[in-house]
Structure formats: structure tokens, C-alpha cells
């Protein structure tokens, strides 16, 4: 029977033969991912399950990223629990600040996700792995505890929604704008029970960093996961990070899709999601002039080298507007070092940006950049729910690094193209 990418990947990892949608199957993933927020609760549950060993310690990745470096005694204890679990159960892949980064960016960078792989992560943005022609699925701590103990988890197999990308993006349109065009189309729950499958001729115009940005927001449309078609771009990315790379997985002709969506990249303009929903998406121009207090460039998919280059291209020779705070968080230590070597951090710092450690901190309202009542931020993150980055009466707009950097310079929301034209005039 003709299969979607998700059905092919699940079939390779299932104990049962039939993985057509709606079935209950048991999947043995290639990677289990936990962080300092989900990990400690999972370890409590693992102990309560009276599990004596981790089924496959070599498949487990523990990353201290949410409250790391620790923000208080409770988070310091949580970070220590990761350290102790790694040591007790022989888990080599344990990453702390200075050696790691934000889990989803780090996992890709480590080369642990091959074409056709399955990642189960105790974090909703595990869907980011889908950019690598893989399936990343988010779970809670109890499920990951069971997966640590048994090496597998049950699933109700999802349907697939096909998203065909056509055309090539115009200036100042990047992966984040494509991600926002997806939530604009599917809304907050259009992806429930489905994997978003991305392919089509437009894919060739999107680099890996942009694909990660798109994959990262699949869950904001309610999707179980997403799966990009594998191609030369993903193969080249993996070739520098892995010894062997599996063949790209492509859907069969005649595969069954719940629905299809086509996105013409050439028709997109820079987009922005208004608070309090990642699906409340409008062109940047339509909210131009909105005053901002803080600009945040970072997170598990938009603290990439591509984002930092985009931000630096806007901020070079410019200054952050008076009264605006610009916080830049490279997603991993490696990205931080490359950005340093390329001189990007100097450009950003000279413009008045504070460069933060690779942490999820401000994105989820944890630490390192919390908003006060009445404040407005433009962020390259993935969620702008009420109170997401701090006080319940603060507001977050989601946009690309180009749009975010332009807002930092202007002190208000402005199209990056407009800012660029003003400078040229």
C-alpha cells in the first residue's frame, strides 16, 4: 500500500506490521530526549516504576537547557538530578551549559537524527527533528519514563497532511515566515492527529536552519509531528555530522493524505503572529508602528547561525533604539563560537544587544529576560500565549530575526524591507 513519509518511518520502528492511521502500535525510537524540566519528573516516575535499568542508554540524550545555568536553588537541584541520572545509568549524552545548547538545535547539530529516524522527547518542540526527514514527537515525563524503562511507547498512528511548497521566497522572507503561514492556514488545532509532511519544489530554496524553524512550529498547529522530504540539502547537513546516513525517505505516489495544502513561497511577505496566539498571523505591515520594549532573538529553532546572520545584516552600523532591550541567544555553544568567529556577535553587541547563554530561559518565561506588566516584545520564538514570557499583561509578537532586528532598531514594529529602504535613501 502507498505510504506517506510518516507511515514509512513508523513502519520501520513498529513492533506491529500495520501502521495505517488510527492503529495502536508500539514504536521503538532511535533517540530519547529529556531536559532539566521534564527529566527530573521522569526520573521520579522511572523510580516509582521500579525500573532497574535504562533500556538503551546510548539512545538517551539529557540536556540542561531550560533553567541552565541554574536560576535558583530548585533549578540547580533539577540540573543535578540530570547529572546524577546520567552517571547512575551510564548515559554519555549529557550536556550542560558551555558544552551543549538548546536541546532541539543541539540534537540536530550532534548528528543524532538521521533520515528516517524517530525521536521521542519530553518537550513539545521535539517536532523540530522533522526537518531532517525524521519524526520527532513530544511527550510528557511519565511517557518518557516508560520509554526509558522499556525502550518503546504506544502510539495511535497519525494521519498525514501534505504541505506542498512552491516558488522561491522574496527578500526578507525566511523559514519563520513559512512557519507562520502554516499556523495561519491550519490555526491552532488544524493539525490535531496528523503529521505535517513538507515537500515540493519550493523546498530546494530553504536551507536546514529555515527548515528547522518551520518544523519547530508544527506543534503550534496541533500536529503530532512533521516530516520534511529528505533531499541533497538534508543529506549534506547529515554528511558533516554522521559517519553513515540513511537514504532520504519520500512518500509513495498515491499515498493517502487527510488534506493537502499548497504554500507559494514567492507570494509570502514578512509575517508576524499577534498575541496571544501563534496562529493569529498577519503581514508585518498591518501592525507596523506598534511600540516595543524588548526584542528577543533565540530559541530552539531561531537562534541559528542563519538567524544571527540575518539579525547582524540589519544591525550592522545601526544602534538598538533608546528604551529597547535586545537579547540575543545563540541556540548552541557551537553556533555561539561560529558567530563569534564570523564577527556577528561583535556587530550585535556594538549595536547594543546583550548576548545570552544558550538557554530556553526567556522564551518560556523562566528567566533571563522576563517581561513586566504592560510590556511588549517581538520574539523569534514559537509561542506568544498570554503570560508566556512573563507578566500575564505582557504581549509577545512572533516574527523572523530580520523583522525582530528591524523592530529593535526602530523601537517599533516595522517591515525589515522598509527599514532597509530608509537606510538606502
Amino acid at each position: 500500500m502507498a505510504k506517506t513519509i510518516a507511515e514509512k518511518i513508523l513502519a520501520r520502528h513498529a513492533f506491529e506490521g500495520d501502521v495505517s492511521s488510527g492503529r495502536i502500535v508500539t514504536i521503538a525510537p532511535d533517540v530519547l530526549l529529556l531536559n532539566d524540566v521534564s527529566g527530573p519528573i521522569a526520573f521520579d516516575r522511572f523510580k516509582a516504576m521500579e525500573a532497574r535499568r535504562v533500556a538503551s542508554p546510548e539512545r538517551v540524550v539529557l540536556v540542561a537547557d531550560h533553567f541552565a545555568p541554574a536560576s535558583d536553588i530548585a533549578s540547580a537541584s533539577a540540573n543535578r538530578m540530570l547529572r546524577e541520572f546520567a552517571s547512575t545509568y551510564g548515559i554519555a549524552h549529557h550536556y550542560e551549559p558551555g558544552r551543549g545548547g538548546i536541546e532541539h538545535a543541539l540534537l540536530a547539530e550532534l548528528g543524532m537524527v538521521d533520515h528516517g529516524a524517530v525521536v521521542f522527547g519530553a518537550d513539545s518542540h521535539t517536532c523540530t527533528a522533522g526537518a531532517l526527514n525524521a519524526l520527532g514527537m513530544g511527550f510528557g515525563s511519565a511517557d518518557l519514563a516508560a520509554a526509558l524503562a522499556t525502550g518503546s511507547l504506544w502510539l495511535r498512528t497519525p494521519e498525514t497532511i501534505r504541505i506542498d511548497l512552491t516558488g522561491s521566497p522574496a527578500g526578507f522572507v525566511t523559514g519563520k515566515d513559512v512557519a507562520l503561514s502554516v499556523t495561519r492556514e491550519l490555526k491552532e488545532d488544524g493539525g490535531l492527529g496528523a503529521v505535517l509532511e513538507f515537500g515540493g519544489p519550493g523546498l530546494a530554496h530553504l536551507g536546514m536552519d529555515e527548515r528547522f524553524a518551520i518544523a519547530n512550529m508544527a506543534v503550534e498547529a496541533g500536529a503530532d509531528a512533521c516530516a520534511f522530504e529528505g533531499d541533497e540539502v538534508s543529506a549534506a547537513y547529515l554528511a558533516t555530522r554522521r559517519r553513515d546516513t540513511g537514504p532520504p525517505m519520500l512518500p509513495d505516489d498515491g499515498a493517502h493524505y487527510r488534506s493537502r495544502l499548497s504554500i507559494d513561497l514567492s507570494a509570502l511577505s514578512p509575517l508576524i503572529a499577534r498575541p496571544p496566539s501563534p496562529a493569529s498571523v498577519v503581514p508585518v505591515e498591518s501592525v507596523a508602528g506598534e511600540r516595543v520594549d524588548q526584542v528577543y532573538i533565540g530559541n530552539c529553532a531561531n537562534g541559528s547561525l542563519t538567524d544571527l546572520r540575518q539579525a547582524a545584516s540589519i544591525l550592522k552600523g545601526r544602534r538598538v533604539a533608546p528604551g529597547v532591550r535586545l537579547i540575543v541567544v545563540p541556540a548552541t555553544q557551537q553556533i555561539m563560537r561560529t558567530a563569534m568567529a564570523e564577527g556577528l556577535l561583535e556587530i550585535l553587541a556594538a549595536a547594543g544587544a546583550v548576548i545570552g547563554p544558550s538557554t530556553c530561559g526567556a522564551c518560556f518565561g523562566g528567566h533571563f529576560g522576563i517581561l513586566a506588566a504592560g510590556e511588549t516584545a517581538v520574539a523569534t520564538t514559537n509561542r506568544n500565549f498570554r503570560g508566556r514570557m512573563g507578566h500575564p499583561d505582557s504581549h509577545v509578537f512572533l516574527a523572523s530575526a530580520w523583522t525582530a532586528a528591524a523592530a529593535a532598531v526602530a523601537g517599533k514594529i516595522v517591515s525589515p524591507a522598509t527599514l532597509s529602504r530608509d537606510a538606502d535613501a
Partner: protein, 176 residues
């Protein structure tokens, strides 16, 4: 956990569509693990009086896509600690749904019950049959997947997995 084959009666507390897990339990409390402490912050921005209003046994009735967003298990932990014993929703986000079931907090999917149930009044749930009643009205929720029913029957995923490990039964779905 509420009984499977007997009635559970609780008062209804209502919330709307797309209620995210940040609203259920804000991110700044994620380093906490103590259920009572988490329960005190449940829904604190949406309804600062939530903790004092909700009584043990209450039923949360939500709209579409309940529990969207973050995978934080802290959200169902906080709901349980605040006293919520069952959720009825028009639809629920996958990760929240699993997390709740895993902790023994049943989530019943019924768009009609979600639309019609009245806040502040008692309702009755017969979990095993998927039956919901309030006053003269009754609704039937979507049937539970076999695995979901098995987890609830064990009292949660921890106990179900503990038994499976004790029986060396960890390959494939354990039926029955």
C-alpha cells in the same frame, strides 16, 4: 482516581477554547515538583481564585484543543492537586491528553457535552461507559482507546509500567 464502573459526581468548572498549558501552569514554576505547590499556581492568571473555588472532585469542562502548547506534565499535576478529577473537552492536544491519562486524570472527548454543560452545577460521569449526565441531559463521550483504558484501569502509567516490568512484558502493546 475516579471509579471506572461507578458514578463520579462533581461540580463543573468551565474554560474556553485553546487553553494552553502555560495558562494551566506558568513556565516560571517549572522547576517545582511538589504537587501541592504546583496546585496553588494552577490557572492563576486566568482565575486568581481558582484554587479556592475548586473543590476536590470537580470536573473541568473545556472547549477545543484543551492543553495545547508545552508538554509540561506539571499542568495535569497542578489540575489534580487543585482538585480536578476529570476533564471533558471538545478536543484535546495530544501531549496533554496522554499526560493526563498517564496520571489517572481521565479526559473525555465530547463536543456536545463541552458546548452544553453548565458551570457551577453538578454532573455525573460513568467513565467506563463514557456517559456524562447533568440535570436531564446526557451525552456519550468518544470511546477510550484500548491502551488508554488499560492505563486508567491500572490507576496510571506508573503502575501499569511497574506491573509490565515485573512481568518482563515490555515488547509490543500488552493487551489485556
Amino acid at each position: 482516581m475516579i471509579p471506572i464502573d461507578a458514578d463520579h459526581i462533581g461540580r463543573v468548572y468551565r474554560v474556553g477554547d485553546h487553553v494552553d498549558t502555560d495558562a494551566i501552569l506558568p513556565g516560571r514554576y517549572l522547576a517545582l515538583r511538589d504537587p501541592e505547590e504546583l496546585g496553588r499556581h494552577c490557572f492563576e492568571a486566568l482565575d486568581p481564585q481558582f484554587c479556592t473555588r475548586v473543590k476536590a472532585g470537580d470536573i473541568l469542562v473545556a472547549g477545543r484543543n484543551f492543553g495545547c502548547g508545552s508538554s509540561r506534565e506539571h499542568a495535569p499535576i497542578a489540575l489534580l492537586a487543585a482538585g480536578i478529577r476529570a476533564v471533558i473537552a471538545a478536543s484535546a492536544a495530544r501531549i496533554f491528553y496522554r499526560n493526563a491519562i498517564n496520571l489517572g486524570l481521565p479526559v473525555l472527548i465530547s463536543p456536545n457535552a463541552s458546548a452544553q454543560m453548565k458551570a457551577g452545577e453538578p454532573a455525573t460521569i460513568r467513565l467506563g461507559a463514557g456517559l456524562i449526565r447533568q440535570g436531564d441531559a446526557s451525552w456519550r463521550a468518544d470511546p477510550l482507546d484500548g491502551e488508554v483504558a488499560a492505563i486508567l484501569a491500572a490507576g496510571g502509567l506508573v503502575e501499569r509500567t511497574r506491573r509490565r516490568l515485573a512481568n518482563h512484558d515490555t515488547r509490543g502493546t500488552a493487551h489485556g
